[in-house]
Symmetry: C2
Subunit: 357 residues, 2 copies
């Protein structure tokens, strides 16, 4: 089947979250021994999870952080503080358990699934050992400042890879988190967010891994140039992905669609993941029902992107690491929401007098 | 020894967090495989923990949520949506594991320690079985709208109870959290915050467990009246506690001082806990070094109190339950900060190229 046919078929299978399950969850929450909605957004999350999973005991125990990795031709323009070889080096670090995402996923009892969608460096050793899933489209995208990142066919393949990873992981996964690794990937993400949110590139381009202000201004010019050179159709998410995106960003959009199709919650990490979530939302608005915004990063475009997605993030800790770290940090809050819904006593069970009003 | 002597002695033993340990933690963090300070406030927290505990591997595994409970004579003025008997009912709920704090503390691998400092209802069965520590000063405070909540001697005893609980728990506790139960206790907390922050009672009085707007305005008038009737000396925290406080609030202030004396981190829960933290800070400014603000509640006075404390909360989830629930929800973030500090690989160990700049 052609990649875009798989994508189309998945999109058709996605249904919105079920509001009747939300209503049942809300009803139960009102019987629990606390003042009305006294756990605030944790209870909103509990109701969201019930609606996503069609359950008053939403399963969230089996957890996977899927780290999609790819490189970016636009790094040649000097947009990052790090060279492209760091992508492959960090993937080796992931497979040895030394990175931020390993440490935080272990705490959250989540496995880390690393997928090479288009890393420039050599990962054949890790592919052979099975430490990394090798689904390489190409050794990095082309330079978006000069032409399209990839062909439309490659964009469809990136999406299809994400769908396939979701399909493979789903039998063992209740709760997904998005992660990514790709030196330079805040640049295509800024371009995607600018296009899908109708924002000025200067407003949605940040310091990424930590470039200073003059470098940030140059990076914003590169983003503007990528849009001017490629003139993507902002009403066509696949065109946006092909012209100014990245392989790992497309694969993340596919993963999100796959999770939504399986009616499983997916924690969206930071700026790059949210750019992917916007592509998924553009392809299928109902998919947004299955997304949980995990945190507000320091990238200025992240706030714009989350607003477009209609999501309020759970955490705001000044993170800008990516890898899925913010999503892993939010996993205990998802578990807490489920525990409150399923384990707290009701006023009746506990013999507690209710609100006088 | 007289209660105030115990308090004075503890205060003298509290030393500020050690900045040389902070500096060592910061140095280590800069070697870890991530862009500079890319986990933001999680890294600030890691450095804080190193400075508190004088360790690059701050122990945080053995966790206790200490729930101080007491009733409030001011409930007679109609300040709460619930009657005072709910305090004792909820304590029964705590001992059966059905309350929000039970569910969230279990997830955080924290034990819940419940102390009756002055509950109006009968808890003798729970005291006999050992489910609740009975340290009753009186069956609830007197009505602060008409006179002082307690004597100065009782205020000293409340503080001393907190110190003793900390001393008893410390051999088995690395990380504390404050919790409380006491119908009506946002009213004395608003009075304490108004006095210690120099704020207008109308600005720092909220809806508590969920009274509506006209009731909130009346509650603010009660807070103003309590201050006018008792004219506490805002430069004397014990006078403030005695005149407009509560037994559980005093015991929490003592617990916080006890944790600081033991150089152990203590997560401050919501509005009432933060009022207690302000008393502790007033008695010993260095004690604030050991406090971690867990969340921003919806009580309007909480923001004012946290600003005075000089703390930025980790979470902002619209909570207003108390019991220690927000502090329990923040425990995984404390654990995450320690894991990052102790378990991530360095650039050298991982063979990753550093920042080009």
């Amino acid at each position: 089947m052609r990649p875009t046919l798989v994508v189309d078929e998945t999109i058709r299978s996605i249904t919105p979250a079920d509001q009747s399950w939300r209503a049942q969850a809300v009803q139960r929450i009102h019987t629990l021994t606390m003042p009305t909605w006294a756990l605030g957004r944790l209870l909103d999350l509990a109701a969201d999870l019930a609606a996503m999973t069609r359950s008053l005991a939403p399963p969230v125990e089996r957890r996977a952080v899927v780290v999609m990795a790819g490189d970016h031709g636009v790094v040649a323009e000097g947009v990052s503080a790090y060279p492209s070889e760091v992508t492959a080096q960090m993937i080796h670090n992931f497979t040895r358990g030394g990175a931020g995402i390993n440490v935080l996923a272990e705490q959250a009892r989540a496995r880390v699934v690393v997928v090479d969608v288009g890393v420039a460096g050599d990962l054949s050793d890790l592919a052979r050992s099975g430490a990394v899933q090798s689904r390489r489209i190409a050794p990095g995208t082309r330079n978006i400042a000069r032409g399209p990142a990839m062909t439309r066919e490659e964009a469809g393949r990136a999406l299809a890879i994400g769908l396939e990873v979701a399909a493979t992981q789903s039998p063992d996964t209740d709760l997904y988190a998005t992660g990514e690794m790709g030196i330079g990937n805040t640049t295509p993400s800024s371009a995607i967010v600018a296009l899908l949110c109708g924002a000025d590139p200067r407003e949605v381009t940040g310091c990424g891994t930590g470039i200073g202000e003059p470098a940030r201004a140059r990076k914003a010019e590169i983003v503007a140039r990528a849009i001017a050179v490629n003139h993507p159709n902002s009403a066509d998410p696949i065109d946006v992905l092909a012209k100014v995106g990245g392989y790992e960003i497309g694969a993340l959009a596919g993963l999100i669609l796959g999770a939504a199709a399986a009616r499983k919650p997916i924690l969206i990490d930071g700026f790059i993941s949210t750019a992917a979530a916007l592509l998924a939302q553009g392809l299928c608005p109902a998919a947004a029902d299955y997304m949980i915004a995990s945190h507000q990063s320091v990238e200025p475009g992240h706030r714009v992107a989350l607003a477009r997605l209609g999501k309020r993030p759970l955490l705001d800790l000044g993170l800008r690491l990516g890898e899925g770290t913010g999503a892993a940090l939010a996993m205990p809050l998802v578990e807490a929401a489920v525990r409150v819904l399923t384990r707290m006593a009701t006023f009746e069970e506990a013999g507690v007098t209710g609100d006088k009003t």
